[in-house]
Symmetry: none
Subunit: 271 residues, 2 copies
DNA sequence: ATCTGTTGTGATTAAACGGGTTACACGGAT
DNA sequence: ATCCGTGTAACCCGTTTAATCACAACAGAT
């Protein structure tokens, strides 16, 4: 029975969602059992029996477990579907409230010059980078140039952002090194220009076999904001995605990106 | 000002979403500030300044904060909208996985993270940039690839650094877009390889007449450190020179530079 | 150059928390 | 009564986290 590791994963996830170890273990045990007493739960979960009561009490107040007040007490977990929904709902509420609260805070900015001529920022975490990409595209005024690998293009939201940009009248150029991905793009974004030339060759891993850092995205917005994200598969499951993100017309890197892209469009245009 | 309790609430929510106290306080502070240094964050958040760095580092890896690697460092929170989206996305992923795991009893799971840090710095002021360039070249172990315009090459110290690198046995590649400068280089650095191909075309202003930002230097050291400097002639006598400078093998920009240069050397080699 | 205040890192201390154990009181069954 | 399973509560101890301190690197001023 290899369910050991599965159990651990579930416990880990539950802990990340705010449960304590005992609570998580008890909950997992209770979903495996159809229901059970403290003793049974203890045996299945390896939580000391005397602590099952505390753990379950918490789970009860969180609405994840039902209690039958008999003697001995019998506990039962709500269904997995319900549990997932409940957790998600609760979290959504929290994020909403957080959003409101944060927005409502007066800006404590001491005093600043708003004008930023030259900035380069780094950003980690794949999701955050993806979100930033959408937002950049959403804020584009005139032009979006984008080079992606298949991984990055799979994301539905990206296509969505791009087509809404097209609807706004923004010019969209998309490049990729992957043959079949180009057809995908043409199909999903008929109005966008698909191009191919040296820029996206830079993102093709097969051109650089000894280099284990993949370039997953290159974006240039209105010729004055860029984002380059890269990805490296670190041995263990740890994904290591980073982005560098810069803006300002006089930023050298922005200029560089501008030239790379303009080069590419001149030379390669449509394929 | 009753924002006190509001702040408390936001912090509390963030903690419930998995952040530590310091992390939460720093994040809230950063959303109130448009951006700030460790000192400013410390003042607003009441987190000891020396601990702000750690907290922000975590926030960065979670994708909630962007870091500008200048000196002093400047931190900036991603927008509230992005933050909420990111947190929600992440949580959704977890619930999905949890649902699967709990329902089925199938596959295994490893665990994570080996960590490699990347950095990107910005640097202003021509002299500081020049000095940094020398230092980078002086520290090179194997290889220096350099693209310059005439302005930057005039500097005697640059030639000095380069020849001492050559003496150390470091391979030196120099590219430039300017015809007569190439002869200069061959004369002064007979041992260096002078090349010409697309990379330095990017620095040729005549290729980009509408773009008033000149790229004055591009340096790549040992394939893992780069520097790009640019220059813009601001109307009033103010010279406006900036550089972006990054290192770390897993840094996407470094990878990009690496590829640009390797491309160039393959295609163009010596003229 | 030297001096001075600031910035970033690392080590260290102290308190809080959570996991694990033990003591014990209660109630029903024998 | 005694015995056993149940439920409560107190405690111990290792880990984590908040908080402080010492210090090297650096920038800017003199």
């Amino acid at each position: 029975m290899d369910s050991e590791s599965e159990i651990e994963e579930a416990v880990e996830l539950l802990k990340q969602m705010g449960l304590k170890e005992y609570e998580a273990r008890c909950f997992v045990a209770l979903t495996r059992l159809s229901g059970g007493t403290a003793k049974e739960v203890s045996e299945v979960s390896d939580v000391p029996r005397t602590r099952v009561y505390d753990a379950v009490r918490v789970l009860e107040t969180e609405g994840l477990v039902e209690v039958q007040h008999s003697n001995p007490r019998v506990f039962r977990a709500i269904s997995v579907g319900e549990a997932v929904d409940t957790l998600l709902d609760r979290f959504e509420l929290k994020t909403e409230k957080l959003g409101e609260t944060l927005r409502g805070l007066g800006s404590a900015t001491p005093d600043e010059d708003a004008e930023v001529r030259h900035e380069v920022w780094t950003l980690a975490d794949g999701r955050a980078i993806a979100n930033r990409t959408y937002r950049l595209i959403d804020d584009a005024d005139r032009e979006v140039a984008l080079v992606v690998d298949s991984e990055a293009f799979k994301d539905g939201k990206l296509v969505e952002s791009l087509s809404s940009a097209l609807d706004r009248g923004v010019e969209v150029f998309v490049g990729t090194a992957e043959e079949d991905l180009r057809d995908d793009i043409r199909e999903n974004l008929p109005e966008a220009e698909v191009f191919v030339s040296h820029v996206e060759a830079l993102t093709d891993p097969s051109n650089f076999p000894e280099d284990d850092t993949r370039i997953t995205r290159m974006v240039l917005i209105d010729g004055e904001t860029f984002l380059v994200s890269s990805f490296r598969d670190t041995g263990g499951g740890g994904s290591d995605e980073h982005a560098v993100f810069g803006k300002g017309f006089n930023n050298g890197l922005v200029a560089l990106m501008r030239r790379l892209v303009s080069d590419s469009l001149q030379t390669g245009s449509d394929d």
